[in-house]
């Protein structure tokens, strides 16, 4: 809730500041800037790059602020660390009451600290000492050192002067103190608002972990081997899918018989998500490379088939007629008219197929693999290595994005006439 409101505040604040405050310095004088109707004119909507930069910075800032990162200039309150204390009141069976104090020492997770010394005091209830890791809680067996203990019938009746019943919680300055059903006290020091590293590590931890894994590897393979194997599977599966799918799509676009024969198969397989095929592929081909590549082949095949088919049907009939009238043979028409004309559609299909393949390979590796980006994050999650998981997700995202950008560059280079016909 707090993170969301901070996010909204930054969104609105930076909008006001940049769009209204800096309007004069950002004025542009190109044609689009003269359009008065921009609401509804998609071509007049250009991404504001300042917003993009602030957006990314904001994500890291909020991430840092809620994880106590060194990179973030401000943090939300962290967990309490140091010494604290609270009092409780014990009632003996005869009705006499005595107060005692619990001295608590809260140290960061994973560090050990000496239990504070407690001098003996008068009365039957003795003071107690306890060490707690930040964001954890600890049971206080308050009667261990007392003259009259729970087996004798003593019980806690109040904490910090507030009466408590078993199961009730008292919020003290030091943290939450709960009287358990068995009569002991459970002390949970104030947690603050930061996330524990086990849920969300700080960005610098993730970066450090990335450096460490890049240098020393993870689970018997280097980082580059993990990513490289995932990429290799995607490229091999996609290449096979394109190799079969494109000719099949052409055949379906050029022949009644092929169209009739493969239409039911393609239309049936298209809506089956590749992830649903993972169990079957594992049964048939095991969890090795063959199974992965078969899965990705199937993921790419139908997309490429449909792209090639619609590429053929997208050829303006006038072009085909013109080529026939110029004396071209069927083969020449395929090579010089149909193939180039279907390239834009095939590229669109290839971009979709690469995206689907990348998603599918990660999912397949999550299920079973010896190496690969998906396997890396799956294994890390079993060991609660959240930093590795987050690093893996970020790298998977970056690679997926890079693949799409490369495909777009290739498309611009190979199909310069796209959208200009």
């Amino acid at each position: 809730m707090i993170a969301l409101s901070v996010y909204l505040a930054i969104f609105i604040g930076s909008f006001v500041l940049i769009r209204i405050g800096l309007r004069r310095w950002r004025a542009r004088h190109d044609f689009t800037s003269l359009k008065t109707v921009t609401f509804g004119d998609e071509s007049a909507v250009r991404p504001d790059r300042a917003a993009s930069i602030i957006s990314v910075v904001t994500i890291f800032l909020i991430w840092g602020a809620f994880t106590g990162s060194k990179w973030a200039p401000v943090h939300v309150p962290g967990p309490f660390l140091g010494d604290t204390q609270f009092t409780f009141t014990v009632e003996a069976p005869d009705g006499t009451r005595d107060d005692a104090t619990v001295f608590a020492r809260v140290q960061p997770v994973g560090e050990s600290a000496a239990t504070p010394d407690v001098p003996p005091n008068a009365g039957f209830a003795q003071d107690d000492a306890v060490t707690v890791a930040a964001m954890r809680s600890s049971l206080v067996i308050w009667d261990e050192n007392d003259a009259i203990n729970r087996t004798d019938g003593a019980r806690v009746v109040a904490v910090e002067g507030q009466a408590v019943a078993p199961g009730a919680t008292v919020n003290t300055q030091a943290g939450d103190v709960t009287l358990t059903a068995r009569g002991t006290l459970n002390f949970a020091p104030a947690k603050g608002m930061q996330m524990e590293p086990i849920w969300l590590p700080a960005p610098e931890t993730v970066l450090a972990r990335a450096g460490e894994i890049a240098a020393t590897g993870y689970q018997n393979f280097t980082l580059w081997e993990h990513l490289g194997w995932s990429l290799y599977r995607v490229i091999a599966g996609f290449a096979l899918g394109a190799l079969v799918g494109i000719p099949l799509g052409y055949a379906m676009g050029l022949s009644d018989w092929f169209r009739g024969w493969f239409d039911p198969i393609v239309e049936f397989m298209r809506p089956v998500p590749p992830l649903a095929l993972i169990p079957l592929v594992i049964i048939w081909a095991g969890i090795g490379e063959a199974g992965k590549i078969i899965l990705l082949f199937l993921a790419a095949l139908w997309i490429m088939t449909i792209a090639a088919r619609s590429g053929v049907s997208g050829v303006a009939i006038a072009k085909v007629h013109a080529a026939y009238s110029l004396g071209a043979s069927k083969w020449q028409i395929l090579r010089h008219v149909i193939v180039p004309n279907s390239l834009p559609e095939i590229f669109t299909g290839a971009r979709v197929a690469m995206g689907v393949c990348w998603g599918t390979v990660v999912a397949a590796e999550l299920v079973a693999a010896e190496k690969g980006a998906g396997m890396m994050i799956m294994v890390a999650s079993r060991f609660q290595l959240t930093d590795v998981v987050i690093m893996g997700i970020i790298l998977i995202g970056i690679i997926g994005y890079a693949i799409d950008i490369l495909m777009r560059i290739a498309e611009k280079w190979l199909v310069p006439w796209k959208g200009r016909i």
Binding site: A318, K319, A323, Y324, H336, P340
Partner: protein
């Protein structure tokens, strides 16, 4: 002497609802080499169907087409076609478009280079030969289409409203170019148009077709194409006979349109 003869062509096909369409009925015509024929008629009179049959893209249900005695059976390089638009190959340069026919026929560059360069000169696109066709204006694209068709040296050139998508000024210039090419190359040209003026200017012979079923309504032999070769097209249009013919044909087509309207009104009533 090459002759294109259209021998009593009829074309009739079934519709999914069980009825049928008589697109053409008993269309017959003979054309000699170097004749320029324009075909005019209201929409639905089957003129594009006729042209597609001539090109070999459609098969007639009766009758046949022969060119130089040989029966037309499918498309062929001896019958070139110029389309209204969108028939150029965007993935090729202007030069590759124009040389497409010779290249498909297996000619080497040395064999077609002269013709192609000459044609690019004639249509005024010498400086644009390495450009992509999508970089050209509509009028330039149609000039590429004309040059591409001529480079293949067909016996007959079929034009399906080749100037229909151009603006009035470009269209007038292109009409002059078509006449010039006709005279220079001596090709037989059949041109379909919606514009009465264009049909008069670009038709030594002019065929007015009537719809439902598509048939030849009337044929004219006109002097304007010859006149247009020698003088400015605008002065041809000022000729009193030109104006008279235009009025005559316009009212003829108006009558046909009204008849169709009346018929469909009856059908709905």
């Amino acid at each position: 002497m090459s002759t294109l003869s259209i021998e009593n062509i009829s074309m009739r096909f079934d519709l999914p609802n069980g009825s049928h369409v008589q697109a053409l009925q008993d269309v017959g015509l003979t054309l000699n080499t170097g004749e320029l024929l324009s075909i005019l008629g209201p929409s639905g009179c089957g003129k594009t169907t006729l042209l597609n049959i001539l090109a070999g893209f459609l098969a007639p249900t009766q009758g046949q087409i022969t060119l130089n005695g040989a029966r037309v059976n499918g498309p062929g390089a001896e019958r070139g076609m110029v389309f209204q638009q969108g028939a150029l190959f965007e993935w090729m340069s202007v030069r590759d478009n124009v040389s497409f026919g010779p290249r498909m026929a297996g000619q080497r560059e040395a064999q077609w280079k002269g013709t192609v360069d000459h044609l690019l000169d004639v249509v005024g696109l010498r400086d644009f030969k390495d450009k992509s066709v999508y970089e050209l204006s509509g009028g330039m694209q149609q000039r590429v289409a004309l040059a591409r068709c001529l480079a293949n040296e067909p016996d007959v050139i079929l034009m399906d409203e080749p100037l229909g998508a151009l603006d009035a000024l470009t269209r007038e210039k292109m009409q002059g170019l078509v006449l010039k090419l006709w005279k220079e190359t001596g090709k037989t040209i059949i041109l379909i148009t919606h514009s009465v003026e264009e049909a008069l200017l670009l038709g030594e012979r002019l065929l007015v077709m009537a719809p439902r079923p598509g048939r030849i309504h009337r044929e004219y032999h006109l002097p304007f194409a010859e006149m247009g070769v020698q003088q400015d097209l605008r002065s041809v249009k000022k000729h009193p006979e030109f104006a008279a013919r235009r009025e005559e044909i316009l009212s003829m087509i108006w009558d046909m349109e009204e008849e169709i309207m009346g018929r469909s009104a009856e059908a709905t009533a």
